[in-house]
């Protein structure tokens, strides 16, 4: 029990006629980076807000760092750090002032210069919040979330809208948080991010967690954990002859044929033989490991980005 940072049972939340969260169980172990994954509207943000103590659940139990929001709210708030997708601070507040203001709310806090170094905003200390770029604002929001040296950090879509370089930088910071022994609970709709960063992920859809586990285990548990892509120059030809020969389905994703592999050792051999027999005018062959995207696709029949 003691080593759980987040413990939620049977969470439900309803907004008028929308059931945002319907019966959600979640356990996040201390020191772990946990990702909530899902399309927009899956209930990730509502779940996070209930865990952050912003929305009381209609039903269910929450314990954060072993404490109850209803009786130990102030204590919990002192130990968690929160970053939202977008937080509009006062336009005319300077970066350093924002950090000082938030620091004053906690009995113990990290110094502004320390935090600015961590998120690489040292040269922006005296800049107005309104003059920061999107990535800089995101980093300021992260610095604000770390002001109180929190044990548990909530990050809601921390890299949405960031360029690849800024995203890398943020990932480095998250890894560092973990190496310092903190627990991180983040939401994202980038599969790659979840696979790279998270020890475990929960895949959400329609207010429920569909799959829970480490990214590697989830992918390995797929019926077809990998697939072959046969690439053509221009439009691929009709794959029906190959499909008939192999006795399995072949999808067309221009300019490729995509063939799911359940047993790569055997399937790949068979595939290469078929290609040779039919003299397929292919250009390249790639074998790819399935991703969390495919896990979602298999569970819901929909793509994450729809």
């Amino acid at each position: 029990m003691q080593n759980l940072a987040v413990e939620a049972r049977g969470l439900q939340k309803r907004f008028r006629d929308v059931e945002a969260v319907r019966g959600l169980d979640l356990e996040v172990v201390r020191g772990e980076v946990f990702g909530l994954l899902g399309p927009n509207g899956a209930g990730k943000t509502t779940t996070l807000e209930m865990l952050e103590g912003l929305q009381p659940p209609d039903a269910g139990e929450i314990r954060i760092l072993g404490r109850d929001w209803r009786t130990q709210g102030t204590e919990i708030r002192g130990r968690i750090g929160v970053q939202f997708q977008s937080t509009q601070l006062d336009d005319k507040v300077k970066v350093r002032e924002a950090l000082e203001m938030f620091a004053s709310f906690y009995p113990r806090s990290r110094t502004p210069s320390d935090l600015l170094r961590l998120v690489q905003l040292e040269d922006k200390a005296e800049a107005f919040q309104s003059r920061l770029s999107g990535g800089q604002r995101q980093r300021l929001a992260l610095a604000l979330a770390l002001v109180n040296d929190p044990e548990l950090v909530f990050l809601d879509e921390p890299t949405t809208g960031l360029d690849p370089q800024a995203r890398q930088g943020l990932w480095d910071i998250v890894r560092r948080l973990q190496s310092e022994g903190r627990t991180v609970l983040l939401t994202t709709h980038y599969m790659e991010e979840a696979e790279v960063l998270c020890d475990r992920v929960g895949i959400m859809d329609h207010g429920r967690i569909l799959e829970l586990g480490s990214p590697r285990d989830l992918v390995a548990g797929l019926q077809q954990p990998s697939h072959a892509e046969i690439e053509f120059l221009g439009e691929p030809p009709d794959p029906a002859p190959l499909a008939a020969l192999l006795g399995r389905s072949v999808d067309v994703k221009s300019p490729c044929w995509v063939i799911p592999l359940s047993d790569p050792r055997h399937d790949l051999q068979q595939l290469l033989n078929g290609i040779e027999r039919l003299d397929v005018p292919m250009r390249q062959l790639h074998v790819r490991r399935a991703s969390l995207e495919d896990v979602f696709l298999q569970r819901t029949g929909r793509s994450l980005r729809d």
């Binding site: 912003l54 708030r77 002192g78 939202f84 977008s86 937080t87 601070l89 005319k92 004053s104 604000l144």
Partner: protein, 356 residues
């Protein structure tokens, strides 16, 4: 966490942020001073401001009836004789409240229906002068007039329009700060998630909000002091009452209208809808409470109604202190109305306040 340290830090930051927004500074600090200087000069003048009457010259080259002219001037009017076409031109452009036409006993006064208040004054003076001229023509001695004494209601000798306007602007400032500045910031903080972010920290909401209210009160007191200084320097308007009472009333009024701002803010989800709500409250309050002029000619029920809203009694108290040197004890009814509104709005605003 030391609440006092958090509070004073937030007050300091609030003041610094306010100083960085030129538009807000103008509306709270500059605008009242500009209004006082402008309107105090235009409408204030001296107590014996001349009343001008344009007399359209009947025929070019032929003089107007000199006897009538003399009587009109004795009645207090300043007569300006102008060629008919020029007078017609000024009349049509709506510049004249009244215009005298004709001569030799066949004169006619044309009055501008848009400017009746000014016109009425001119008319009564013109009628008097006309009666006197007729009496003189018949060889009768001019009838005596009622003696007139010019005094301010407070009885102190500098009761100029600026002295009437200054307390009105002080009160208006509180209303603007509450309904516009406070309400808009409140709605924006909720709409953009600023409050939500604060709600995840241990800062108690009453400490945060008290700091916001306190920094706004400081700004209001500073702007009030500035306005008083302009009043003294430009118009010689001095506070006849106690400064302690004045500050106490301004603090009470700030509490009233800042609560109003937070209450109105709780009614709107977006800044756009808030604009409508704010104007719906601000305009009637400003127009009905006698900020710029007394509402003596308004229907009685409207005047009575306005007296029950918070701004009109507040202005009565402010005018009582500044112009009459009245003590707070003498204005119990007004204080009770303002205090009642403050309490009601504070309770409503506190109950309805939401971080999200």
């Amino acid at each position: 966490m030391n609440s006092w340290r958090v509070f004073s830090g937030l007050v300091g930051l609030g003041l610094r942020l306010y100083l960085r927004i030129p538009a807000a500074m103008f509306w709270i600090m500059g605008f009242p001073a500009v209004m006082l200087l402008g309107m105090g000069t235009v409408f204030g003048g001296k107590a014996d401001t001349e009343v001008k009457l344009v007399w359209a010259q009947p025929v070019p080259g032929i003089a107007v009836d000199e006897a009538l002219r003399k009587s009109l001037e004795e009645a207090g009017l300043t007569i300006e004789v102008v060629p008919t076409n020029e007078a017609e031109d000024r009349w049509r452009r709506g510049k004249l409240p009244a215009m005298l036409e004709g001569t030799d006993g066949k004169v006619r006064l044309r009055m501008n229906s848009y400017l009746l208040i000014q016109g009425k004054q001119i008319e009564s003076m013109a009628q008097q002068g006309f009666l006197a001229a007729q009496a003189q023509a018949r060889g009768v001695e001019s009838p005596a007039r009622i003696p007139v004494a010019l005094e301010s209601p407070s009885g102190h000798p500098l009761g100029s329009y600026a002295a009437f306007l200054l307390p009105g602007l002080l009160g208006l400032n509180l209303l603007m700060m509450g309904v516009f500045s406070t309400g808009i910031v409140d709605v924006t903080m909720r709409e953009k998630g600023g409050y939500k972010r604060l709600a995840t920290t241990p800062v108690p909401r009453h400490v945060y909000l008290a700091a916001q209210v306190c920094s706004r009160m400081i700004i209001l007191l500073v702007s009030g002091a500035l306005l008083m200084a302009v009043g003294v320097l430009a118009f010689g308007v001095r506070n006849q009452g106690s400064y302690a009472a004045l500050v106490a009333v301004l603090v009470l009024g700030s509490a009233c209208f800042l609560s109003m701002g937070y209450f109105l803010g709780s009614l709107a989800r977006t800044v756009e809808t808030y604009g409508g709500i704010a104007n719906l409250v601000f305009l009637p309050l400003m127009l009905l409470s006698g900020v710029y002029f007394t509402l003596d000619s308004a229907p009685r029920w409207l005047q009575r109604g306005a007296e029950l809203l918070p701004l009109a009694p507040l202005l009565r108290i402010l005018r009582g202190i500044i112009n009459d040197g009245a003590s707070l004890g003498a204005m119990g009814t007004e204080l009770a109305i303002v205090g009642g509104w403050t309490l009601a709005l504070f309770v409503l605003a506190s109950r309805r306040f939401r971080w999200i």
